[in-house]
């Protein structure tokens, strides 16, 4: 589905050259980082809530079969139709078939990363169905013909100034000014009519509540409610890891999700969608479909990635990631960017295509430190590196480099003279203690000086010192 993209390093380099992108990322992610710190600081039970969040998710993942069956039974009882999709293609096809059966010409969609994962925007276009993105940021991304660059703020990569230019060019009625309230009003004007004339509304799910069969969505704009209520048909697409036993568990996780994502105490809109419109209901869809998507998730259970199924998609890991903060989401070339994305993308796209992602990380651990469900992201990323090495996917230069170095390091009698020679050799390039260029060190010296080593190694100086003191 995804068109061929240039390799990761080229994308990253292009992003690094984009100063406006950096401004946009730092404004939003920087703000999110600060607000999260305050929200977590104001919630003394956060560490305990985190442990409980992890336990809830682990319990569900360990009993996935049980809760899936319970959810399906209760959803059917509420009048919903439940569909199962093994792959992204299957999931998209199910959604398109429902749209076609409903004779849909226009569908509204509220933000769902799962929808992006299964390629729904593309599938709708191919099927000739008009897609209207109703989340403000998704609306921006759609007008610009782009994809989301962050899982919470899809238009993270755009500055307010760029959005103003975009709206001026694309909205039928131009915004009154470039101020944020006028931009929001302009988007509302553009979207409102479409909300009311859509045939199908498609949403994702933040939680699937097993004991009631309800689907929970959270937004700050209310667009999910407008997407799912007026149209005749509501389709939910959700990954199977979104299950929780009951609404209490959903609230336990919401306390973590909102604080970690936006630094708020709670979202503006938290809605539980349960079945289609009943005879006495004032409004609601006539048909309510839930598409449960696997797309590699059950495979993760068997591949040492069960912990990743805890993820509640808060985006804190990317907001706190030094790499994401430099290159933004698009450079990752995948649905999910940042640390969580670099764990998930090899599952979704295959490791051969994406082995750069788990490697393009300093393993500094800040992502795991802020993760509200304690996912050991660096450990999982290293797991992919291990697999990539075993499958021979790493470049020959890296394999040879590490191999030769490890051989010497495993043979101290060869290692000692080799390090002594290296020190002498490196010092040939030193000017006043600094090495600004040295063969085979281009990756370092292109950007930094290499501090010249001292005259001899520690072990040889130590040995000489000891000999001296014994004489």
């Amino acid at each position: 589905m995804r068109v061929d993209v240039p390799p990761f390093k080229s994308r990253a380099k292009a992003a690094l050259g984009d100063a406006v992108l950096k401004t946009a990322i730092d404004r939003t992610a920087g703000n999110a980082e600060k607000k999260r710190a305050i929200a977590v600081g104001d919630f003394p039970q956060f560490p305990a809530a985190r442990v409980r969040g992890r336990q809830i998710k682990d319990h569900v993942v360990a009993n996935l079969g049980h809760y899936l069956v319970e959810f399906e039974q209760n959803a059917i009882r509420s009048g919903a139709k439940v569909h199962w999709a093994r792959t992204s293609e299957e999931a998209s096809r199910i959604v398109i078939d429902i749209c076609r059966a409903a004779g849909a010409k226009r569908v509204t969609r509220s933000k769902s990363m799962l929808g992006e994962e299964i390629g729904l925007p593309h599938a709708l276009e191919t099927a000739g169905i008009e897609r209207v993105e109703t989340d403000l940021a998704e609306h921006i991304v759609q007008l610009a013909g782009e994809t989301p660059s962050h899982i919470v703020w899809p238009a993270m990569h755009k500055t307010r100034e760029q959005v103003a230019t975009l709206f001026n060019a694309k909205h039928a009625v131009r915004p009154d000014s470039d101020a944020i309230p006028d931009l929001v009003a302009s988007a509302r004007r553009d979207l409102r009519k479409k909300f009311l004339t859509a045939d199908v509304g498609i949403s994702g799910a933040n939680f699937l509540i097993a004991d009631t069969g309800a689907v929970c969505t959270v937004t700050n704009e209310g667009n999910a409610e407008l997407t799912t209520t007026p149209p005749r048909v509501h389709i939910v697409t959700a990954g199977i890891e979104k299950l929780v036993p009951s609404v209490d568990h959903a609230f336990a996780l919401l306390r973590l999700l909102v604080r970690s994502a936006t630094g708020g105490d709670f979202t503006q809109y938290t809605t539980f969608h349960c079945g289609p419109k009943r005879p006495d209901d004032a409004d609601g869809p006539e048909e309510f479909h839930i598409v449960l998507v696997d797309n590699g998730r059950t495979r993760m259970l068997g591949e040492g990635l069960a912990e990743m199924l805890r993820c509640i998609r808060c985006g804190a890991c990317m907001n706190h990631c030094v790499v994401y903060r430099q290159i933004g989401g698009h450079a990752y070339g995948a649905t999910y960017p940042g640390p969580m994305g670099s764990v998930l993308t090899p599952v979704i796209d295959g490791l051969a295509k994406s082995h750069d992602l788990p490697n393009a990380c300093t393993l500094n651990g800040r992502c795991a430190e802020v993760c509200p469900v304690e996912i050991p992201l660096p450990t999982l990323l290293r797991g992919w590196r291990d697999k990539s090495w075993k499958e021979g996917l790493e470049p020959l230069t890296v394999r040879a480099g590490i191999g030769i170095w490890a051989y010497f390091a495993c043979h101290p009698r060869l290692y000692r003279p080799a390090t002594a020679i290296s020190v002498r050799w490196m010092r040939l390039f030193s000017k006043g203690g600094r090495i600004s260029w040295m063969p085979l060190a281009g990756g370092w010296t292109e950007y930094r000086d290499f501090p010249a080593p001292q005259r001899s190694t520690f072990i040889s100086s130590y040995r000489a010192m000891r000999k001296g003191s014994q004489q």
Binding site: G365, S388, V398, A406, Y447, R448, Q454, F458, S461
Partner: protein, 256 residues
């Protein structure tokens, strides 16, 4: 050599970077451990802990080096390492590298239990505080990620540095944010690494301090290299050098 029984036998693992690039850190560690009442030995066949291999996914190579280091160091009462990331490799990750080898796993666990990062060993195990030290300068401290998050090292270096007369320690904005070194990351993804260390260098400059200190030579060489390329006057040293009274010597990347 002093081998009195109340002096614990400490094996100093200098790390491959200190061995190769900055022996001063090794000698600082030696001096500090002796002052803290230890009998220090330096196994002469030591090389590397295997971290670069482990983090590259070359787990078999890392396991080879882990077994070698365990053999060299397991007879000591303690193993002390002047680096948070190398200490964490031994303390946290050897059991992962050797997970499939039950016999070695037990030896890895036992070595992990007695392995310490230098500054945390001095404070947490030996209750050591330097005395009679003076260095009139302004400094700032970068918390290297592995030491901070895998070993909980944060207060210890600051407590030790607080005992140095005349040393003013200024807060660094983003002191707990990665400098972009990441071992082989800094050469494999050099452009990204450069952008990250560029921000670190700017934050260091922003403190107005004349000296940057830290506990991990890799991060320090990365940041020193960037500061130097940018023409900064900030000098960079391992905190152990200052605590050992060697703070008046050449900084990283200065001819000594």
């Amino acid at each position: 050599m002093n081998t009195r029984s109340d002096r614990p036998r400490v094996g100093l693992f200098a790390t491959c970077l200190v061995d190769l690039a900055r022996p001063r850190v090794g000698f600082a560690a030696l001096r500090l451990l002796e002052e803290a009442g230890c009998s220090v030995e330096v196994p002469l066949d030591q090389t590397c802990c295997g971290q670069p291999a482990f983090n590259s996914g070359a787990t078999a190579h890392a396991a080879d080096l882990a077994r070698q280091l365990i053999g060299q160091f397991e007879s000591f009462d303690y193993v002390v390492v002047p680096s948070g990331s190398c200490a964490a490799m031994i303390k946290v990750h050897y059991v992962e590298a050797l997970a499939g080898e039950p016999k070695w796993l037990a030896r890895a666990e036992s070595l992990a239990a007695k392995t310490w990062e230098l500054m945390s060993f001095l404070v947490d195990v030996r209750g050591y505080r330097p005395a009679g030290l003076a260095l009139a300068t302004t400094a700032t401290y970068h918390d290297s990620c592995s030491g901070l998050r895998e070993l909980g090292i944060s207060k210890q270096p600051r407590e030790l540095l607080a005992a140095v007369d005349g040393l003013e320690l200024r807060p660094l904005v983003g002191n707990d944010v990665c400098c972009g070194f990441g071992g082989t990351f800094c050469v494999k993804y050099a452009a990204i690494s450069n952008a990250i260390v560029g921000e670190k260098a700017a934050a260091v400059e922003g403190t107005g301090a004349s000296l940057l200190l830290g506990g991990d030579l890799g991060c320090l060489m990365n940041t020193a290299g960037k500061l130097s390329r940018l023409g900064s006057k900030v000098r960079v040293m391992h905190a152990a050098e200052v605590i050992a009274g060697m703070g008046d010597g050449p900084g990283i990347g200065e001819e000594g």
